[in-house]
Amino acid sequence: MLQGQIPIDEYKTGNTKHTWNLKKLRFAHRVLFDYNYKKQEVQKGYANRTLYIDLSKKEIKEKKVTEEMKNKFTGGRGFGLKLLWDSITSETRWDSVENNLVITTGPLCGITQYPGTGKSLCLTVSPATNIICDCNVGGFVGPYLKFAGFDALEIQGKAKDDVIIFIDGENGKITVEIAPLEETNTHLLTEQLTYMYASEDNDRSRQKVAVVTSGKGAEHSWWGCLNFSFYDIRRKVARVKQAGRGGLGTVFRDKRIKAIVVKVEKVHGLLNNPADPETLVKVGTKLHREIRDLDKYQCNMRAVGTGHLVEIMDAYDLLPCENYRFGSFPKAPKIYSTKFYELFTKIIPDGCWFGCTMACSKTVDGYMVKTGPYKGQKVTVDGPEYETIAACSNMSIWDPLWILEYNFYCDTYGIDTISTGTALAFYMEMYEYGILNKNRCDGLELCFGNAEAVLEFIHKIARGEKGEFINVASKGIRRVKDWLIEKGWGDEKLIEDTGMESKGLEYSEYVTKESLAMQGGYGLTLKGPQHDEAWLIFMDMVNNAIPTFEDKAEALHYFPMWRTWFGLNGLCKLPWNDIEPANNAETDEPTKVPEHVQNYVELFNAVTGKKVDKKELILQSERCYNWQRAMNVWMGRGRRKDDWIPYRSMGPVTEMEYISRKDRYDKQLIEKQGFNKEQIDKMSVKEKMKILYDYRQDQYQKLADAVYYRRGWTPNGVPTPQKMRQLGMDDPRMLKMLQEKIDEDEKAGLNVWGGKYGKGEKPPSIHPRYWEKW
């Protein structure tokens, strides 16, 4: 094992070396169109312009970022939403020519003094959901895009051939080049381009190049992810982080983009020109020290990354096993973080941007690939992270090496480990029930635990195979549900209840059955069931700290707003609460980590020179959050019906599930629904399940009622013009649209609460059209 204090030049990964004829590759490039721009420095966190490219019209232009845009949308995801609103229609779909793929940065993105400050935000209309999907991703691209001169990059239109978009921050030039000969799959393409576009043939120059790629899997599925590179000078490998959810890579390849390359002239610590660098140093050093002293007793991120969650989730019955049927599994200890710790190459630092001492980006170097086109080669596998490991437990794969194999191929083919794993877990359950079988699965034996079949499934996608199953299965659970129902295979309700998707997007990897608030955390979201808006399981289920609907609604207001804020600024969420000050438990609101919230207030002010407080941070988010929901409404997918979640995420769908946790469920029937022991004992499992089902469905609707009210929406989940005006979001076109939708709902009788309120229970408001008084 490498022990550290090894000079940088002497680190060796043991990976298979490739020699590329870069001259030949480059010679085959043909510049389609280009654009020269004036280089200018970033001022207090903003480049003050965005870059627009239309691949169909062969047009490149700059757009100015106004003070008004900053005040309303802050940056990052907020800018992305604004640019999308201005450029797409309510009818735009993922493969429409005018669909816009936006990559943005955010005012704090690219500072180096505080951990977790190098995130890019990517937004587009998703194939999975037909609404906007936003992803937060590490790597150097975001900061470099800003240092090259732009707060955001928009790409509309489609190219006819595979192109590379090159943003040359050294020379102030953008080129769009046809690039026919390079590889498509990420691990090879990223390496080729990093070497090809570096100004000189050395590591320092390669470090100034960052690349966005996807892969063959993204071309043939709706799970395409974007890989954002960061050159690791110790390993001498261009590593990658994923913008995974919602098929952004699918849109990228549909536009025939092979890669986006960004190069900067220099990298140093003050390229953002912050208003007050010493405050950044002060706050950052404080957090570094906290991580130094406490991480090993808290999350142990520096040793194993997010994988530490596997054993915690297993212990609390929250680790998704066999398509979320179970929350723990006897074999789970085989994939605990200790097992991966043995495999990780221990070379700190493992941050995805400079200065991140949380260092959660672990890697396994010299991993020997077992299957597929790269069989026998040795490669660096980035990860696995918790979500990838848990996607595998969901498929009942308990071998760390197969998890690495899965991780590697998903990444290099450019597909999302989460969606792919969650979907396969569903297909496997259908296979178990005979609703699917070998014949119906194009010859694949998709039973739980069959890792080889999983890999073969992925290779088939990457090869673009055209079987009926592969064709629909690669588009995700929603399409497979429709297909199964159309074929008349299996019970419709069982299919709807077990397939873990909402809004068309596959669930990420937590079992939410016993936490109502977390069901809301997945269902009452903007882009679909992803835990990045709220993670309330412990607060709700373990600590019982938010017992009433009102409490839960407050949490489902505050936390989604707070977490949205990271995306507006180009930040990572982990250093907020995956490390906590030693005295955090003694503060008023430990779940909010007040000291760290204050850190962010200081960072924001120190970079932008503004004077905001923590309330204003939440307001910044609320503006954009409501804007995004309004856009969902506009696109036809932002009402109560769209916040539907499958019953598997609320309670036991099958008798086996009920029986496996019988004591728990029986107890709840007694405690929550007033049955007595004798009555329970007389009931069949089916009867008990039905009672539980009705109860939990109603609970979810009541939760939605409370949350909509708290967020300032109508009872059908539509943001009100009154609320938007209060927030200062007074775009007349948007206000008019919202009013029309609310009137439509009124006519259709939809402005009513969803829960059934019995004696002693109250809906959030008894006034019809309560929002009009605001």
């Binding site: 022990q3 000079p7 570094h288 973080s337």
Partner: protein, 149 residues
């Protein structure tokens, strides 16, 4: 490349020190071309009761593995060296130094540290400072084996 095996570190004789801080002034001359001493000096002399204490880098090099850009290396003479042209000012080394001997002054974003140049030794009127040679293997410290699960 032959790895350095030995390094010089500062040794302090508190009984000889009278707190005149000539050492700090000499050190800030080396690093910032000023006689300010204080937060511009890598060596600090701190009064503790009626005794003086020295606070300075002991070249054990835990920070070497922290630097994301490889700006920290062990030079041929064994000294832990910060290359300010490569440094991107992240303060990881400042935050993780176990004895807080990696220093940051307001005058520039890059931190600085003791380079065992001996300016302070020569400046000390009382012979309270001395450079002594130690084996790197005996003092070196590594981040990773402190972790583990």
């Amino acid at each position: 490349m032959d790895k350095p095996k030995k390094v010089k570190i500062l040794k302090f004789h508190p009984e000889k020190c009278n707190g005149c801080l000539e050492c700090e002034k000499a050190c800030s001359m080396v690093h910032f071309k000023t006689k300010d001493g204080g937060d511009k000096s890598a060596i600090r002399i701190i009064k503790n009761g009626d005794r003086y204490q020295m606070h300075v880098c002991d070249q054990r090099g835990l920070c070497l593995d922290m630097c994301p850009v490889g700006a920290l290396t062990r030079r041929k003479n064994g000294v832990v060296w910060l290359d300010k042209d490569l440094c991107i000012g992240c303060q990881a080394c400042v935050g993780f130094c176990p004895i807080n001997a990696m220093r940051k002054s307001v005058s520039r974003i890059q931190p600085f540290k003791c380079i065992s140049c001996g300016a302070c030794v020569r400046a000390c009127p009382n012979g309270a400072l001395e450079l002594v040679e130690v084996k790197i293997d005996e003092i070196k410290e590594i981040v990773y084996h402190k972790l583990g699960v």
